[in-house]
Each structure stands twice: as C-alpha cells, then as structure tokens.
Symmetry: C2
Subunit: 459 residues, 2 copies
Amino acid sequence: MRKLLLLLLCSSFSVHAQNDEVINTQIKEIYRQVLTQGKSYDWLNHLTNQIGGRLSGSLNAERAIKWAKDELEALQLDSVWLQTVMVPKWVRGTFEYANIESSPGNTINVSICALGGSIATPSAGIRANVVEVKKIEDLALLGKDKIEGKIVFFNRPMEADLINTFEAYSGAVDQRYIGAAEAAKFGALAVIVRSLNLRLDDYPHTGVMSYGNLPINKRIPAAAISTNGAELLSSMIALNPKLRFFIKQNCKNYPEVRSYNVIAQIKGELSPEKIILVGAHLDSWDLGDGAHDDGAGVVQSMEVLRLMNSINFRPKNTIRLVLFANEENGLNGAKVYSQTVKKNKEQHLLALESDTGGFSPLGFNFDTKEKYLNKILSWKSYFSPYFIHFFGDNGSGADVSLLKSNAKVLAGLKTDPHRYFIHHHSEMDTFDQINKRELEMGAATMAALVFLTDQLGLE
Amino acid sequence: MRKLLLLLLCSSFSVHAQNDEVINTQIKEIYRQVLTQGKSYDWLNHLTNQIGGRLSGSLNAERAIKWAKDELEALQLDSVWLQTVMVPKWVRGTFEYANIESSPGNTINVSICALGGSIATPSAGIRANVVEVKKIEDLALLGKDKIEGKIVFFNRPMEADLINTFEAYSGAVDQRYIGAAEAAKFGALAVIVRSLNLRLDDYPHTGVMSYGNLPINKRIPAAAISTNGAELLSSMIALNPKLRFFIKQNCKNYPEVRSYNVIAQIKGELSPEKIILVGAHLDSWDLGDGAHDDGAGVVQSMEVLRLMNSINFRPKNTIRLVLFANEENGLNGAKVYSQTVKKNKEQHLLALESDTGGFSPLGFNFDTKEKYLNKILSWKSYFSPYFIHFFGDNGSGADVSLLKSNAKVLAGLKTDPHRYFIHHHSEMDTFDQINKRELEMGAATMAALVFLTDQLGLE
C-alpha cells in the first residue's frame, strides 16, 4: 500500500503542476508524508537528549555538527559539506549564585544566570546596594551620584498585551543587550536584568549581551534574574531601599574557535544554479537542550530535504539546507555563508528560516518585493486546509536576513507565539516541551512553500 | 493610570461604534484587559486543583456548581440562577486492572479504564482469548463462531494525516460508543477499545459508550486501553493468537440525580429580550481534573461576563452565560436549557460555546444562515491582529447545537487542534497542561465576537 502511494506520488510529482487540483493533492501528500513517516521528532530527540545544549565553541556544538553531517550523508542527498566559521567561545563555568540581603546576615536566594558574553564577578562575588530602573534612559536621569558603586537592576517587563510576543521581546531586550555597557558608564558594579519571559516563574533566561566599545577595564558583570526573583527583589527594594544584593559568577570569554555551517543539497534538474534555501541555526544556549531554539528549526529543515529525497522528487532548482553556526552570540555562520554567496554570485530564489520554536505553524513572514509577495499570496488557498493563514511582510529571520542582496524572497516560518518566551534561552527549553504533531506541521508547511516556489516559480 | 484607561474605555464603549478605527480600539482594549487583568487562569486553577474532575452526579460536580454560582454572584451581574437538570450517575469504583497472559502464569499489566456507562466485570474479572478487529463491520465478517466467548479488541487508530484532529476523532469514536453493544450481539464477553489519542503513550482515555437498546442481561463490560497498550496487545496477538486477556472493573450505574445548569446574565439596555449566549460545560470526566475539557471553556465564558461588567459595558442585548450540566454523558443540561428556551420563546442572536480545549484560538465554527455568516465574515479584519483567521461553517458545539430553532447563529470557538487528544478524557487533562496566555486569548476572542454581535447586530 505504501509503495503504491509512493509510486503515485512520484508520478504526480514528476509532472509539472498544471492546476489547483493537482497541486492540492501534492500538498496534501506532503503533509501526509511528514505526519506519518517524518523523522523530525526522532531527530530532535537525539539532538536534544543525546547531545543537548550546544553553545558555540562547546564540545556539544562540535558533536551536533558531526551528527547533522552524518545524518544528512545517510540520506544520500546530492552533496553534503561543511563551511568553516570562526565562532566566539564563552563558558558559563560553575553555577551562578545570588541572594538578597534584607539586613546583615538575613538573606534570600534568588535564581540568576550570567548573560552570554558577560565577564565574571571577582571570585568573592559582589555585594552592593541596588538601584532599580525600568529603562536605559533612567540611568542618565539618576546620574552617577545615585548609580556609582551600586548594582543596577533593570526591571521592565515584556508587555503582555502585545499579541505578537516577539514584539514584546523586541521592546524589552535592550536592557539585556546594552544594559551593562550603559550602566558601567555611570559607575555601576554589576547589572541584574529581569528575564525576558512573559510568565512569572523561577527560571532565569540568558541571551547575548554586548559591552559595545567599552574598554575591558570598565566592563561589569551582567546576569538575568527570573521573573519571580525580579518581582521579589522589586517589592523588597520598595520596603527597604538599603538592601544589598549579592552576585557571584565565573563565566569567561576565550579566543575564537573553529566551527562549521553544515550544508546539504539536492541539485536542481532545470536550473541548478538557482537555489531555494531552508535553514535554521544549529547552535543553542547552554541552559536547556535547545529544543525550541532552534533544534526544532534544524530538524524541520532537515525533514524538508529528507521528504523530497524519499519521494524521489527532482526539483527544478537546487534545494539547499543550511544549518547555521553561531546565531545566538555572533551570527558568524550567517555572515560567512552570505559572504560566500556574494563572492560566488549565487542566486537564491527563496531563503526560508525556521527560528520561532516548534509550535503550530501560522504561516510566514516575508522580506521581499511586492511582486514576489503577491505571487506567494496567490498560493494562500493551498495552505488553508492546514490552518496556515499568516503571510506577513514583517521581516524574515536573523540568519537569512543577511542574504538580502542575493535572494528574491527572504522568509521565516511563523509559529504560534504565545508559549515561546517561557522556553527561550532557559532551562525550560527542553525536548519534553515539544509536541510531535506541531513540530511536524511546521516541517510540512516549510516543505509546501519550497515545493510551490520550485514548481510554480516567483515570476 | 488604570482608572484613566477605564474611564476612556467606558466612554468609548458607551458611544455606539461608528467606524473601524473605533471598533479596532475597542477590540484591542478587550484583549488588553483579558491579557492583563483577566481572572480565567486563577478561576481554572481553583476549579481544577481545589475541586478537580467533576463527573455528572458526583460530589465534585455539586461543588463545582456551588463554586461557579458563588463566583458569578460575587461579580454582581444582573442575575445568577440555577436550572434543575436530572443527570445520570455512573461511578468508576476502584481502579480497573488488566493484563495480557501470553502463556499460563506469564502476564504483562496494561493500562485500561472503564468506558463511561459500562457495566462491571464479574468480581473475579474476565479472562478470555482476544479477537482483534479494526471496524464495527469486521464483527459480521468474523461472525459468532469466531467472537463468542472472546474479548473483542477494537484497534483502529485515529488518522494522523487528518489535519483537523476532531475529524480523526469522529472517524474512530464509533468503536468506543457502540463497540460493546455490537460485539455483544455476537456473543463477546467484553470489549477493549484503543484509546482515542493520536500519540503513543500509557494513558487510557475514557468517554461515553452506549448499549443502545440491548437488554440488560446482554450487556458486556467495555474499557479503553492506552495506545501503547493497544500496540503491545496487537503485536502479542500476532505472535500468539491464543493469548488471553484479563480485565477487571467494578464501575456501576446508579439512578439519575438532581444537578443544575448555572446561568448568569447582564441585561440588555435596548433589547433585553434578545440573548447572546456564551457557554461551556461544567461537568468533566473523572480521570483528570477537566482543565481542557471543559474547564477552559467554563472560565473563558465566565471571563466574557466579568470583563463586560468590570468595564461597565452596557450591552444592547442580554449577555447570558450558561454553564451546562452533563455534556459528557447525556447532554441533559443542554436539553433542559433548550426546552426552556423553546417554551419561553426566547430569541438568541448568537449562542457561542467553547469546548475544544484551552489552546490558542484560531477562530470559530458556525452553524447559521448564509446572510448571518456573511455579516460575521465582514468582521474578519477586526480579528486579524490576534491571529484569528478561521471562520468555518462546519457546526458549532454539542451543547449549543440544540438551540438550532431558537438562535440565528450557533458557534463554537475553534482552538488549535493538534494537542487536544493527548489530554481529552484522560489523566493528562490537568491544569499544568494549560498555558495562561493561550487560555486568555480564547476568552478575549469570545468576548470580541460577543461585543461585535451586540454592537453591530447580525442584520
């Protein structure tokens, strides 16, 4: 029975799509294959539970690259290769520790984690008074007098009433990214930043921070505090503005190390020089196992090529998978890939990224010219049986965005945003938080867009 | 600040909506209120964790009715009352037990649960050979010779490639509902039914079954087996068709008992005789705490009235909440409510139910005339900022469907369907499986449709 279906499928896929009915049948078969024969969930189980968190420069990142290359080679695609990328190496060290000292000797422990790229505290830690602010601009209003010698506590929550949680993230992430650099200018000893999480819980969320051009001797340690910890600290400061906070962390930056983008492709039959890219980033933060960010995108992208290969679909254009190195703290994988594309003058029809978690797909965000967007919008009805309805023009994704000058369409898979920031960059980003069916729906949705772009073209 | 917003809101809500901009602002405020001030999540925490599963006729069902009435009275709505409903009382008794005996004395335990309404086994249990079937029709093909004296094992999985999991459920539920009655006709001793769950796991899923008009002395026990258990049993039967299955359960049907629909309303200012109903069912199965089915719908419906009352919104039409008794195994609450509506000739503009789990809302399913559907479709753009896109015409919900002759529009909130059947009717339907934001998005989406129907009308 399965063989018969595959035969039917191959023959229908080998005839170029001529009408809606044929296309609808083909799209249905894509979803059926992924939902019943897909490998994405098993792959993600291995990547997260057998390898785990895979921060750039770590042994796990190397293991993940080897694993991905081996799995892709086992698929017998047309080619699989590695592209060298130099990446930063930052190591968390032993677990961070913090407490609130309401009066001498009277302390309450709170959950913190170092922000990625932060320096360590002195080995004895830092104990100091705290000044709570909501915005970067508050620092200048307070001035050096009120900040020097203290720990600055950035405590602006993400806005719950922004429906797209990624907007709420964008609206709050400056505290994490530049908070330390800015507070250091006013003589702060360290910064504590409220975790970028819409929910109140006990998990601190890390993420990249930058000292900008601050001289090394001016840099101060930066850590995230859980949302519950932030609420507690804020209420205790209200009761006792003289309380002291203790923080100790021993993270460290090392010189850059060699890593790789993992690339694989199925060569196009008609226009092999034209590339349709699917991709995601293989690196992750170190606190969880990177299941949603971005293990999901990795295995979904791999599934697109596995599916096409397994049904013996021969695309008109080259279908290329790129698993980018170092999205989280450098974007160096995307930089190297895009530089190579420019140098080789490679044309990308579509560059589609998945990096919003393995939740139910809603559709896509695009960065493209109006004529290409209109072409894609003409395919909307093919997606509606799958609850895929969102075709936005609000950007693509961090990695593919660098391909702007060499791609007609940049796109990002858009998944349900409501749960993402519970998991993002925290211990809560683990495989058990992934639903198999939601993950597979995302992979099938990516495959459908790749298939339509390949068969129908963008012009 | 909050007071100011409320003042602005009240004044804007008191002016009848005149244009899209005003309406968009009002809808935005509905979502903002629910996402930042909503009570649905706290209510659900109480209903599930302080009360728990609340099967019709149980003490917990009574406690839930009292709790809901008290909470609604505390909101100081225009009226709150109970409507008497006689409901079945079925009691599971001590935990069910089952094993597979591959050879005498060599047994493996498997997870089962009695189906709702089933009779008990004899107190010593039933041990017999098993005949596995996929469909009801297989029974006639096998005939009495091959079935008599055996346990019939219905093992047709839900179809994973049906995108709408509710369709997959409909396609498989006959085994559970009429499997025992049909197998009894061929002399089966008991039936075991594969749980209606798309995932492979160890949780059996209960649900209502019926003996139809089978005489009492012909009835046989019926139980669900977990999907993992079903896979194991099937593979062991393939190895050894002579294996025996042991099942023991002591559930019991009692005479009907008195229960109640809980009803509350805000009286309309212009047309109090016209009713906009929001509702859900307050009863649940007994294995979990009924968080998704249908605690979510209960607290979302309550939230619609809380919100409208808290912002002092005076609707044109009467906004009525109905928490139906006994949806799970009788629909008696909906029957009594609809009979009363008919008797009193009450007109419903809209009857909107939430009973697809507390997941991210996608939109609504409607059962209505084309002209009303077209009117509602003209409101689609008001919903699009909230990722609400689905406006189907594929039915409404079990409870409100009985109002067909007295309502212009029947509707059901449609939520993301992918995870629902992991939880449905099983131990996995618990509060910890609810995401606050997804739950609140559903409540706000219901409130928005109620608001638009009230303010803009259906004609």
